[in-house]
Symmetry: D2
Subunit: 262 residues, 4 copies
Amino acid sequence: MCRFLAYRGDPIFLEELVAAPCHSLIHQSLHAVEAKTETNGDGFGIGWYGERPEPGLYRELRPAWSDENLRSICAQVRSHLFFAHVRAATGTATSRANCHPFAQGRFLFMHNGQVGGYAGIRRRIEAMIPDALYATRAGTTDSEAIFLAALANGLADEPVAAMACTLGAVKRHMQETGTDEPLRFTAALTDGEHLWAFRWACDAKPPTLYFRETRDALVVVSEPIDGKRDGWQEVPKGCTLVARRGRGLSLECLNEAMARAA
Amino acid sequence: MCRFLAYRGDPIFLEELVAAPCHSLIHQSLHAVEAKTETNGDGFGIGWYGERPEPGLYRELRPAWSDENLRSICAQVRSHLFFAHVRAATGTATSRANCHPFAQGRFLFMHNGQVGGYAGIRRRIEAMIPDALYATRAGTTDSEAIFLAALANGLADEPVAAMACTLGAVKRHMQETGTDEPLRFTAALTDGEHLWAFRWACDAKPPTLYFRETRDALVVVSEPIDGKRDGWQEVPKGCTLVARRGRGLSLECLNEAMARAA
Amino acid sequence: MCRFLAYRGDPIFLEELVAAPCHSLIHQSLHAVEAKTETNGDGFGIGWYGERPEPGLYRELRPAWSDENLRSICAQVRSHLFFAHVRAATGTATSRANCHPFAQGRFLFMHNGQVGGYAGIRRRIEAMIPDALYATRAGTTDSEAIFLAALANGLADEPVAAMACTLGAVKRHMQETGTDEPLRFTAALTDGEHLWAFRWACDAKPPTLYFRETRDALVVVSEPIDGKRDGWQEVPKGCTLVARRGRGLSLECLNEAMARAA
Amino acid sequence: MCRFLAYRGDPIFLEELVAAPCHSLIHQSLHAVEAKTETNGDGFGIGWYGERPEPGLYRELRPAWSDENLRSICAQVRSHLFFAHVRAATGTATSRANCHPFAQGRFLFMHNGQVGGYAGIRRRIEAMIPDALYATRAGTTDSEAIFLAALANGLADEPVAAMACTLGAVKRHMQETGTDEPLRFTAALTDGEHLWAFRWACDAKPPTLYFRETRDALVVVSEPIDGKRDGWQEVPKGCTLVARRGRGLSLECLNEAMARAA
């Protein structure tokens, strides 16, 4: 289990959310409250959009709490859209390539969850990735594989449908191999403009996901970064929070999308 | 605050204590129980004696819990005398050179504690290190500086007196700069043959220290590695456990040694 | 292109070959002579056999020349059979999981060479790895994939035939995708007892490989560790040097083995 | 010996100098031409000024040539003033804290050179650093120590005089300890506005230093980043290139400044 945050709004320094608040993401790397694991010390990553269509990426295998570079970069970089993630590994190695967020072209993706019995179905999930994208597969995580498979399933055009289709396929692979462990998927996706935040699990126990909308900004988090509940709304289980630029927020049902995709 | 263990006895694979027990040192890197900090993820180190008078050393800035090399080395190396340490930094950077144990010639040293107001008296403590040893000062911790200063004060000949003398001097430096923070010192030292384990604090709150003696071995730990209290004895506050090869264990009073040194 | 060495014989400290000679493997990490790249600074690894059937492994992504741990471990560990490798990456990331040697059960494997057009046929090579082994695929290199595929092709029973079969299959995948780049394969394999050293390329330009046999030991190297040619014999192109315990050295022709496998 | 570059001018993406040119600084990390060492693989660093008075800093102990984060950050960050440095260690460890540039408040400093017999006079140089600054001493290099000592000697007000005074003192310490090795000092300093580039050695063999001035920008380098000599001017031996904002470039004689300081 991991912790993450996504921000879209008026440009701010990353440190305002990543480092400064009492329950900032860096704080959560050592003291998460709502996670299965309190410590998220198996690497971290930030991804942000600046002047280019593709995001910048800084990922490192040290714990976030002791990384001087992270603090310095977050104090310098100002962005209207950024992701940050601290990792608690669930079976795969601690390496930069296994750290979130993952980038592909204009897209950023990060995940908190698990694919039950992943070691046994890893190749089946990877087989969903087309050759051209497979060459960019740099790590070994389920998260990166799902992202690449979803891109092949149309993530750029219909994110919710593409993700539903991908999760449905992963679930079928899990059923075929007979695992008892669940598929749980709380994730965030952006193309540098719009933002999607997913919360779904096959056993109705998806990891927590909150958002806070103000006049200036939307913040999506695993758990509130101010340590309070006021002002934060839960993304309902089974839903995707859709934040298209210039439009109001909306919720889409992932189960329905999965039924359509099946 | 950190966690450590020291072993002397019949040669065993390091993994028997470092990796295997339910509350092994690797487990404590993520879930310490008796420490001020539950997580000890700011690097780690092992030092061991094999066929040579000088110990081997493997120190790394990643957390112990995710280091594949640590597990592999501990599964291969068998030793009659070894130290292992997982670090929770108290103000100095996460780097290999700041990881314990520290080695000098035949000696190994590791520490759990704090020097109150260290940043302000660091140079005074370093001034206690003679030039020849100062060239080997590789990190910035109080622990390494105290070790090098104690070597200059006769650690090789009279370890308890040398350490008492050094701690007394550090305490005076602290008093002169008027810090309110305490000096706490729980540590282990060996020359590859004999073993000393110190537990002292100026405020009578030294970090915990336990030992277990069997027919085959002596184990000294910050907290029991089996998660139980049976079979473990506390090193009394203010005392040094002295384990000279071929002799029974004894306890020496550090305060008396400090009075003699003063 | 990389540099490596393999040793089998009377137990010696690893440092005698890895660190001490004027042209030691650590020296070659910075100043290789017979390689396409003079610098081999993209990580390194050592694997050695001690008291257990499985080898120990220390792999790290820093350059070998500046790694204090490597020097200390090589000064302590004495072994009758060990591998050491310094890496110059050819397209895949610098990470521990991409460092050689690779271990599987009792086996150690390391490689110097290239699979032309690897990015395009990576999945085809990975498809040769059975599910059970695929779960242990930790990195993204061609070398690791070939090793795992060869294990599936009978490496434990008939190493030369299994490797010939695997290389033949890789070559066919390369032909199908129409790459102009060559397949070059200089490698070493051991099960902790016997040793095989391969030197083959589809374009008759396999990387260099030498061996030196004395009464006490066999040493196999990419280039001589003493910087001299005396006493070193070249493994002929297209050949495998076979060093079964208790028997004399022999050379087997890989092309014949490939013809038989086809 | 190391390689570095400094830029001041119209804001550009760091990659335009650090990553893109045929002989970029990243290229020089593997293939320097005018240095004593071709490989500069002992860590690297970039420092840049954005919206804040203090610079951002990204330093890492991996070689620059294989660091994905460096490429991504350099592709995103646009700055009017930045430093970049690739390190070839001369006796001190490879760690982040030993990587250049060093930052203090608004200042950035980086160095290429050597202090002969440094191990023996390290403490004397450190003694030139006042207590308040000494608490920020994070590494063990001569370069960082000289920077901190120069700050104490008035670097903020009279950079050339302060550096001359500091180098003079270092030279005296060297003479007192009787080293035969030289003091060589090629370095760059900025406060986020003005830029100073020093080239001096006690034996008239200071490391190379070039600059190129165009209408839009000033670039200072250890060796030309385009692999050509056209358009580059050498900073004369014994001189400091002074580039105050809004004024023309000037050269100041360091020897004269040292004579005045003595």
